[in-house]
Symmetry: C2
Subunit: 116 residues, 2 copies
DNA sequence: GCCATGCATCCGCATATGCGGATAGATAGC
DNA sequence: GCTATCTATCCGCATATGCGGATGCATGGC
């Protein structure tokens, strides 16, 4: 039963729910989440570490950058919950705002990269 | 997002997961859970209160006795999770032990009631 | 090689939360 | 009315956990 509780503890903070919701839209790195959630780097990094440790996310490193995404090979509980998460988020205004902020951020990020 | 986190926080303790798992088998009162989980009355009562507050359970009072059960009219998240909980518990040895302990307890309880 | 950047981890602090015993309130039997 | 029983809540204690700034490590550009 402790593993079920640990998995649920992984999503028991609003910040981590927002993060996992944003990762539903695609893999992201720490600075993406910093920009959208408007939080310090250590706060984001610690929560990402927690999500990974409790089975919700995976990461890959590419040079200095680390990209986080949903854990598609997670346990049965995580797979089932992640399958349903989009329905739970439907109509959620905070998520809609985060999604918009992410879209704006990614658009700016791409334009900055192009201008370099 | 905070409501999703609150719901997950409701099941983030092993004791509460064990309680909600036992309620899957039928409605129970505090003394049933005391007997099965072998924990003090105040511990059980506090966790039951938490589960109710976070939308997982309902209760009905009958004289001195209060009976707790799954909240069938809960929010979408709780309904979906409670639908899947039995599959997550499949093969869980701790739950199997709790279930056996409950069966023994209820058998004894019924026999005691009959002998009065 | 130096410096900038991205990220993980530590630190000290503050808040949240679980614990069991004790207590209080409600119910019911005598 | 008294006593027993069931349950909710409080108390003091201890542990868990989130916070942001600082620090350290790895990577990459120049």
């Amino acid at each position: 039963m402790e593993n079920i509780a640990e998995a649920f503890k992984g999503l028991s903070e609003p910040v981590r729910v927002r993060i996992i919701a944003l990762l539903y839209l695609g893999e992201l790195c720490v600075c993406d989440l910093m920009a959208v959630l408007d939080m310090p780097q250590s706060t984001i990094s610690r929560h990402l570490s927690y999500l990974k440790r409790t089975g919700w996310t995976l990461s890959r490193r590419k040079g200095k950058w680390v990209y986080y995404r949903w854990n598609g090979n997670a346990g049965r509980l995580q797979r089932d919950v992640l399958d349903m998460l989009p329905e739970w988020l439907a109509g959620n205004k905070e998520f809609a705002a985060d999604r918009n902020a992410l879209a704006v951020h990614l658009k700016n990020k791409t334009e900055e990269a192009c201008s370099d």
